[in-house]
Symmetry: C2
Subunit: 310 residues, 2 copies
């Protein structure tokens, strides 16, 4: 079933203890796309400036990413520059140039309006709402947000929550949004405001899916080498939504598998700078990593465990 | 098979956002014991002062905890006083009075020297080594340590590592010990120094078991209410070692189950002050929580996942 992402398309300059990149492909829609396309074709809506190396994006089209919703506007592309600490735990933003992204007004092409699975990347919640106004009958709408909007556009964000099925945010954002430091209470607070599901990402630890009756936990994949955490959350979203779109079914068991695909894609994202790792892998690598997740958490409940209770 | 723990027996005064306790039962051997005894009888070696409310300890004996290795010395008991931040993420030590614990010299009763499963709670590594000198032929020796010994008794600690089968520490300690911020590299560093297994506890996120070929991750149990994190790590160790002693077999699958029992016991520990929660639960509660862990991480790898790779 059709999959649509609306989000940023950026040029990232990133410094980690392992190296530096300059004007590399980045942005939420790009990280989402390179992950999701390994599972399902998708449509992208976004904006780039006249200076964007569009041919680098076009190479992604060969992988099933439809870029006909990406506007090439007059002006400069969105650029972000950041630096990570030695242990990759902290990130400092050095520069942000919004460029054409400042005036981004998502216009969903007619051909995309029937999208069944929709991911609203981290943009102004006012724009996220306008996207929803243009979508006919989605099966599942998921959205991301960040501290900037939680702080500055709280009311609009709460309006948005009433209209999305799933909120996908990190633990710090969940705490900020709910005002509660306990992430399970924070999840319940969010569920009471609209979404049927909430996914709280916990960085190097993993992610948790919570709904009214169920909790599912997927750890982060154990990696001895992490090069660049940028985009891990968007790649997670791409794996999650890509798997749902591929299977077309929002069942509890499929949502659990979607979480595992999400965590797998997040782990690929951090193994190299920018989206480079996704240019090296194919579905076989993804399937293999998903199998390893099974092994990572597998334990059998044996009959003797019942005797503990006797 | 016989299970022995050597560790501290303390009186804890703890302040959390939810209340205050004064001179409550605490210490590594006590938290370990109340958890382990739900799975297997155990023997405790430790010291208390003349002022210790020994009858409160003796009530635990009815649960299968053999206290005949606990010395009642002249002097004051070990007391610890601490305060947690509003979100329980940070702990400040307000007072530490070692009392009789300062001169603790573990003398393992003859009847305990055949112990097959041994847990060396967080005490001076010199004393941990002396305990090992008194044990005849253990099947598995696990030990804990802390920043104080990693910093101040590094060489002795490295000697100890050559003689234990399993090191169980938290992530900050693993990083401090190895000098590496990546916990999987830190685990490998530790494995190269002696232990066959390392368990790295990650607090509210869970814990990971690493050996030469395998990684197993168990999340923390999702709790909306956490009252007092004190002793969670020792209760984890009690559940882990109690399950191994109960089953008597150190197989890869049993170690995985032991991790789940550990995480279950850690989750009970934080649900009330001191060891109070353990006085309310029995094996049925433990078995039920272990089942819930199964549900928490369960996902099925379906045939369609193979097609991702095609």
């Amino acid at each position: 079933m059709s999959l649509l992402v609306v989000g940023s398309i950026a040029l990232d300059s990133v410094e980690t203890p392992f190296g530096v990149t300059e004007d590399a492909l980045g942005g939420s829609a790009v990280y989402f796309g390179v992950a999701a396309c390994l599972l399902h074709p998708l449509q992208v809506v976004g904006v780039v400036g006249a200076d964007y190396p569009f041919e680098r994006l076009e190479r992604l089209a060969r992988r099933g990413i439809d870029l006909s919703g990406v506007v090439r506007a007059e002006g400069e592309s969105f650029r972000w520059k950041g630096r990570y600490s030695f242990d990759l735990q902290n990130r400092e933003t050095l520069e942000t140039h919004l460029g054409v992204f400042a005036d981004f007004e998502p216009d969903i092409p007619e051909a995309f309006r029937d999208a069944r699975f929709v991911f609203l990347g981290n943009i102004d919640p006012t724009l996220q709402l306008r996207v929803l106004d243009q979508i006919h009958e989605p099966t599942l709408v998921a959205c991301d947000t960040m501290n900037f909007w939680i702080d500055g556009s709280r009311d609009v964000l709460l309006d948005l929550l009433k209209r999305v099925d799933l909120l996908m945010i990190n633990d710090a954002e969940a705490r900020q949004l709910s005002g509660d430091w306990n992430i399970y209470r924070a999840a319940r607070w969010i569920l009471e405001r609209g979404p049927r599901y909430v996914v709280i990402k916990q960085g190097e630890y993993g992610a948790v899916l919570v709904d009214d009756t169920d909790v599912f936990y997927v750890p982060a994949y154990p990696l001895e080498e992490i090069f660049d955490p940028t985009g891990a959350g968007d790649a997670f979203a791409g794996g999650f939504m890509g798997y749902l779109a591929r299977t077309g079914e929002v069942s509890p068991d499929n949502l659990r598998r979607a979480m595992v695909f999400g965590s797998a894609m997040g782990s690929f994202a951090v193994e190299a700078f920018s989206v480079n790792r996704f240019q090296e892998i194919d579905g076989t690598d993804v399937a293999e990593r998903v199998h390893r997740f099974g092994e990572l958490v597998r334990f059998e409940i044996t009959a003797d465990i019942e005797h503990v209770g006797r």
